[in-house]
């Protein structure tokens, strides 16, 4: 990343920011004056909409402005990108209905969106958001170069989703100091704020994901006992339920129009607005107009109706809570405090159901939108060597293993095992003189490999020929502090190490990340060039107008040769500024300037003369 190193002067002060890269909104926080603070423009919210808008020309627009375009120009605006991270098309069929761009899948299941002929992976789209966050943070930190970050992911994110997030950060020119889990980050902010110890359940319902983590806080150590959740459950689903309800009420024309992603996206935004109103009042108007489809609809929705619609989703969150408690080997009564995190916990039904379930009122003292970013900033402070007071001990959310003969999942690391962690399992050959073993690395809780998620495949080759069952292959799984997996294998009788090349599913290879990085650099250069050409064009236009006026005034005083030279360069500048590249336009402009120097001199002269003779310039 050569362009990162340009700003070496600021390195000493380079802060480690905490970024909450959310489905709907993102936030960035930093440690300042002994506490974490969310970076926000004076008097405004720190929320940065996780939206990307593609204007007809020029670079993509991200954040607040992009979000505004989602209403006016839904056909070229992308929302909820996080739901596609590390997923394949078949995982996200419902989410794709509101995406206004055609989608396709690469061989390894990586999704690509076609935006006017240019293909974007979810990683690249997230990178656009992260790049924007960097710029916002840098601006709010008086121009400091922001390139080191702790980034948060849902605790229940699997390895492919974590990898995708890491790659997005790389593409955005960020150095990821640590990936931490959102509920754990929240507990850190909570723990520091409240100075309390004990067993805490963090209930984190965001725009697109849900996590519940059970932690013990003791002597500054935040130890996660268990985590559970659903990376496809959140406020988006509440909106969606409201959309389905509205479509039913609006009639067949609307149902037909819903095949248009732009229509559906607009409807979803109206549903979201209605949902938010329902959090503070008993009824709210659902209002939607689509001039494209000649549809205008409004209806009063009661909170009761809304709660009926979202009830199944809220129940699913409670199932996860039961699971997390069972995994932590705890009873409901063992939980000392419940902390609500994520914008969707503002929905009254969510809060009341959680209270009912845990039999206690949840802690709501912290802003549920900000608490994750704040925790990430705390972790950034720890990593920068700022404090040894707090320590996070987290776990891996899902079991990891290998597919064995017969298609079974053989677990090597169990879910809720602490990270960093490692485990080794022995495998052997099943045929005489077998020299290679194919491994399918799996993540999930199901017994059958086919029901688990495949993280990738690799082959151990170079096993010396021996009878079946004699080879001793040790497969080692290592989980780092980011919860990310590395697999190594060794044939133990010969010490032969495996040549492992894991092909990530739904992911990017390191090589692809490199290529994209250089491309994005080229894109940045191209965008810069385009702006410069536009500026030059304007400048040339002004120069030509000035030259023509001057020729009219003092042209006759020029010698024939100079006059022809000027006319020639004017014509050239005119044509170059229409179709030339940056260098050509720049050269034409410079030549124009050069050729008009005698004219300028003459003009200066004549100004002097007119001053002397008392004539006005215009009279000459």
């Amino acid at each position: 990343m050569p362009y990162l190193e340009l700003d070496v002067l600021n390195n000493a002060a380079a802060p480690i920011v905490g970024i909450d890269l959310g489905t709907t909104n993102s936030l960035v926080a930093v440690w300042r004056d002994d506490r974490p603070v969310v970076l926000k423009p004076e008097g405004k919210s720190g929320r940065i909409p996780s939206a990307v808008h593609f204007p007809p020309t020029g670079p993509p627009i991200v954040g607040q402005k992009a979000r505004a375009h989602a209403l006016t120009d839904p056909r070229s605006t992308m929302l909820s990108i996080k739901r596609f991270m590390g997923r394949g098309l078949k995982d996200v069929t419902e989410d794709l209905e509101t995406v206004p761009f055609p989608s396709s899948e690469k061989e390894n299941g990586l999704i690509q969106f076609d935006v006017g002929g240019r293909k974007y992976t979810p990683q690249e789209l997230s990178a656009l958001i992260l790049r924007h966050i960097r710029e916002v943070a840098s601006e709010l930190l008086d121009g400091a170069n922001v390139y080191r970050a702790v980034i948060t992911v849902p605790a229940y994110f699997d390895d492919t989703q974590r990898q995708a997030t890491r790659d997005a950060a790389k593409l955005a020119g960020l150095e990821i100091e640590r990936i931490i889990n959102e509920p754990t980050a929240a507990s850190l902010a909570y723990g520091l704020d409240q100075r309390k110890e004990g067993t805490v359940a963090v209930f984190d319902l965001g725009g697109g994901t849900f996590d519940v983590s059970v932690l013990s806080i003791e002597e500054g150590v935040f130890r996660v006992l268990s985590t559970s959740g659903d990376t496809h459950l959140g406020g988006d689903d509440f909106d969606r339920a409201l959309v389905d309800y509205a479509l039913e009420r609006m009639g067949p024309d609307a149902v037909k129009a819903a095949a248009d992603p732009a229509f559906l996206q607009g409807l979803k935004l109206s549903a979201e607005a209605c949902k938010m109103k329902l959090s503070s009042s008993g009824k709210a108007e659902f209002q939607f107009t689509s001039p494209d489809h000649g549809i205008s609809w409004r209806e009063l929705i009661t909170r009761e109706t809304f709660e009926e619609l979202i009830d199944p989703f809220v129940k699913r969150t409670l199932d996860s809570c039961r699971r997390a408690l069972a995994d932590a080997e705890l009873e409901l009564g063992d939980v000392d405090e419940v902390v609500l995190v994520g914008g969707s916990t503002r929905v009254p039904l969510v809060e009341s159901r959680v209270s009912e379930f845990f039999g206690r009122k949840p802690h709501t003292g912290l802003d549920p939108d900000e608490v994750v970013a704040l925790g990430a900033a705390v972790q950034g402070h720890v990593l920068a060597g700022g404090t040894r007071e707090v320590l996070l001990l987290d776990v891996t959310p899902l079991s990891l293993g290998i597919e064995t003969m017969g298609g079974a999942m053989s677990k090597i690391i169990a879910r809720n095992a602490p990270i960093p962690g490692q485990a080794t399992e022995g495998f052997t050959t099943y045929a005489d003189n077998q020299t290679g073993i194919d491994f399918n690395v799996l993540q999930g809780e199901r017994e059958l490999a086919a029901d688990c998620r495949s993280l990738g495949r690799f082959k151990l080759s170079g096993i010396p020929p021996m009878p079946a069952g004699m080879a001793r292959v040790g497969v080692r799984f290592s989980l780092d502090a980011n919860g990310m997996l590395t697999v190594t294998a060794k044939e133990e009788t010969t010490g032969q190490s495996a040549s492992i090349d894991v092909q990530p599913m739904h992911g990017l290879t390191d090589g692809e990340v490199e290529v994209m990085l250089s491309e994005s650099y080229e894109h940045a250069q191209a965008d810069f060039d385009a702006r410069r050409v536009a500026d030059l064009r304007t400048e040339i236009g002004m120069m030509i107008r000035a030259t023509e006026r001057a020729l009219g005034q003092a042209g006759d005083a020029l010698d024939r040769e100079t006059r022809m030279e000027i006319e020639e360069t004017v014509a050239l500048a005119r044509s170059r500024s229409e179709d030339g590249g940056l260098d050509e336009v720049q050269a034409a402009r410079d030549r124009l300037e050069q050729s008009t120097l005698p004219l300028a001199a003459l003009l200066m002269d004549s100004v002097a003369k007119t001053a002397l003779t008392g004539k006005k310039m215009g009279d000459v």
């Binding site: 480690i16 100091e177 640590r178 003791e218 002597e219 150590v221 130890r223 689903d237 339920a241 009830d311 199944p312 989703f313 129940k315 699913r316 409670l318 199932d319 039961r322 699971r323 069972a326 972790q379 720890v382 990593l383 920068a384 060597g385 040894r388 320590l391 996070l392 001990l393 095992a417 602490p418 990270i419 960093p420 962690g421 490692q422 485990a423 290592s478 989980l479 780092d480 502090a481």
Partner: protein, 218 residues
């Protein structure tokens, strides 16, 4: 054991509390040694948790954020070894299994059977489980709860028996180890059954509260 850098007495071979140096250990270290414990079946779990937190503060990668890549890698390694050892020492089954195998006793592949007296009970338990897997009737649920209690109590007896046989630690390759292995096999069966009961209960809890009109629980 002393720190090779500052000569301080080490509380864990993984790192020094005084000078903060990380020390590399063997690829498969003795989990007891990592926690500065004597090799024995009984482990004070509360003290073990305290040690985990204390030692994590010495070796966790979070505290080496600004260190060299090499040191950071060592922190990852030492931290995962500490966690792996904690996982083993905090689990009575795995702790006993580790001791049996370390003393040259049979693995679960060599001795596969369970204590004779146990087999009759297993058949009875299997029946209850089989019934519970079917239609969720109140009786089946009650039977499941009863089964849960008897399994837990049986597990307690087995652990107590194992503890007796492993305290003090028997001779290397002692016949006692074979017996412990059989009891461990029985515990493995119980743990699987307990796991299944838990799964069934979670499933039931979810179904009990399911809204009749709900169609989005997939």
């Amino acid at each position: 054991m002393r720190c090779s850098v500052c000569d301080e007495e080490l509380t864990t071979p993984l790192g020094c509390a005084k000078c903060g140096t990380l020390h590399p250990v063997a690829e498969h270290p003795d989990p007891f040694a990592l926690f500065g414990l004597e090799r024995r079946f009984q482990v004070d779990q509360k003290a073990l948790r305290k040690s985990l937190m204390r030692f994590s503060r010495l070796v966790h990668p979070d505290f080496f954020g600004e260190a060299s890549a090499e040191t950071r890698a060592l922190a990852e390694r030492n931290s995962s070894q500490l966690n792996a050892a904690f996982g083993l020492l905090s689990d009575d089954y795995r702790r006993a299994e580790h001791l049996v195998e370390a003393l040259g006793g049979p693995t679960s592949k060599k001795v596969r059977d369970m204590p004779q007296a146990f087999l009759m009970e297993v058949m009875e338990w299997n029946e209850t489980l089989e019934e519970a897997r079917g239609e969720p009737s109140p009786e089946a649920l009650r039977d499941l709860t009863k089964l849960h209690f008897s399994l837990q109590s049986e597990r307690g007896h087995l652990i107590a028996a194992i503890e007796g046989q492993l305290t003090p630690l028997p001779e290397h390759s002692s016949e006692v180890l074979e017996n412990v292995r059989r009891q461990l096999n029985a515990i493995r069966y119980i743990d699987r059954a307990l796991h299944e009961i838990e799964e069934l209960r979670l499933e039931r809890a979810s179904e009990d509260k399911a809204c009749p009109t709900s169609n989005s629980t997939s």
